[in-house]
């Protein structure tokens, strides 16, 4: 099975790098060597303007690749996975139905930490996508982090939380580091320690059955430093700021989506990022077999893409 990526933005590069290094889709990853990918990955540059900055940046332009351009090449066996923020399954299906009666579409929302294999990804399957198509995507995206299926109407909320979430964390980390510097730490060390603290806390929470507030209590010794600090956070309305942030991002995503659906605004003017579209060729899932590196080379050359 091979995977094609249209687009050369952050997600595409993350994917290319990680999928080449870490075999995906096998029953037992430990049996495969790091050098031999189970699936060929090709990335083509197709005249799409790559995203130069992170998601949501005002410079990002919508990739001109559209259903019209790839539509003619899409066959019944293809699964088209759209990672474009704010683009609904029905709008993709509508465009593709000009070429295929039953296009298989899956919509996916991920986030930038896929680049370190700690992404948070959700997907929603379209009308003609089969259960195994979704499972295939889930297997692939699970190689770069957490992945689960959701109903499409939750994707805006996911954007607000884990799509934008890394930005909230970066802001928090910058400020935490400032706090460290204020109290005498060298900057680099402050950044490192702050990041590690958030990383560790996140890991503890994910590994634990406990409520985050219970874990928080466990850190707060009576009359101690931490509880004093938390009081400041509460005074500043820390909790409500975070709730507001998630809400604002979710609402904005919905606005952008409805503007796109109405197609009143030109794509270039829309301040959203089309990360890429991942085009998957799929035979049935049961025929997943490791392909040789030779085949990988052949495929990517055939696409006219660059070798990694």
């Amino acid at each position: 099975m091979s995977v094609g990526i249209i687009g050369a933005g952050q997600l595409a590069s993350a994917w290319r790098r990680e999928a080449a290094l870490y075999p995906v889709g096998s029953q037992d990853n430990s049996q495969l060597s790091g050098n031999e990918p189970a699936h060929g990955v090709g990335a083509q540059e197709d005249g799409c303007e790559p995203d130069t900055q992170q998601q949501g940046d005002s410079e990002a332009q919508r990739c001109p690749v559209s259903g019209r351009e790839i539509g003619a090449d899409v066959q019944a066996r293809h699964i088209v996975v759209s990672c474009a923020a704010g683009v609904t399954i029905s709008s993709v299906e509508k465009k593709l139905m000009a070429f295929q009666p039953a296009p298989k579409v899956i919509r996916c929302m991920t986030n930038t930490p896929v680049v370190v294999r700690e992404g948070a990804t959700v997907y929603a399957t379209g009308t003609h996508a089969l259960v195994e198509d979704g499972q295939l995507l889930e297997q692939l995206m699970s190689s770069v982090g957490f992945c689960t299926e959701v109903e499409e109407d939750l994707i805006d909320a996911v954007t607000g939380l884990s799509g934008s979430g890394p930005a909230y964390a970066f802001m928090a980390l910058d400020a935490l580091a400032d706090g460290g510097v204020k109290m005498g730490l060298p900057r680099r060390l402050a950044v490192q320690l702050g990041a590690q603290a958030l990383l560790g806390a996140a890991k503890m929470l994910l590994d634990s059955e406990q409520h985050p507030c219970q874990l928080k209590d466990n850190v707060c010794s009576p009359g101690g430093a931490t509880i004093h600090a938390l009081h400041f956070l509460e005074s500043g309305g820390f909790r409500s700021l975070l709730i507001n942030a998630v809400e604002a991002s979710c609402i904005r995503t919905r606005e952008l989506q409805s503007m796109a659906d109405q197609e009143k605004i030109s794509p270039a003017a829309l301040k959203k990022t089309l990360l890429d579209r991942v085009k998957l060729e799929s035979p049935t899932v049961s025929t997943l077999t490791p392909s040789s590196p030779g085949k990988l080379l052949t495929r990517s050359l055939a696409l006219g893409g660059k070798k990694d």
């Binding site: 507030c213 209590d217 466990n218 707060c220 009576p222 009359g223 509880i227 004093h228 938390l230 009081h231 509460e234 005074s235």
Partner: protein, 278 residues
Amino acid sequence: RGDKMAAAGPATQRVGFVGAGRMAGAIAQGLIRAGKVEAQHIVASAPTDRNLCHFQALGCQTTHSNQEVLQSCLLVIFATKPHILPAVLAEVAPVVTAEHILVSVAAGVSLSTLEELLPPNTRVLRVLPNLPCVVQEGAIVMARGRHVGSSETKLLQHLLEACGQCEEVPEAYVDIHTGLSGSGVAFVCAFSEALAEGAVKMGMPSSLAHRIAAQTLLGTAKMLLHEGQHPAQLRSDVCTPGGTTIYGLHALEQGGLRAATMSAVEAATCRARELSRK
């Protein structure tokens, strides 16, 4: 008609439940514990055995047939999730009689909707419980439908007092009850957490602080309910001149506790109204 039901004392009062989730279980447990209804006179239905086992453990009868509940009980409480209630009512409508008293605990489903889904002249009430029904300290309101008389309402109130406080209200108050007392449980939890954290900040271990905070809420609530005085009066009584409490209260007022609390009730009520319009 109401007399037949009212005459049924604890020995013979039968109550049916369609839906056997947490709230149904809480109400059933309250009825049994308070001696209002015997376990064997309670029948509950659910699609699977997952929840019915709790009813069986109480000694109640169970079934997978919703119609069977209506055929064996005149007083039936519908405790399904709101979105499946219409289908369930349609399913049981053929066996609904003029003798039945049907009670819905579903949030957001109005009396007029219930009456539309059931045969004409069916006696319907809405009951809005809150979570502490599970410890028999619920704050429950009831609203009656067009064909319900006072004796049936009083009967139901008498039964539901097994689960806490129960009062009849106009249907217009139902969403406000949700905002105040349904969601209020969470508001109180947040307040309790904050009380405890204040104590932790001052040097008390967390679990002790949480227990004391909760007991403080319980005790104060009990005083307010039993002594019947205005909370402002009790508050003032606790504040000795220049003492600890008035200092603490000042900090609370500076933090805008009252406005925040009012906003919380308002936001939850508005959302309840929005959801019931959908």
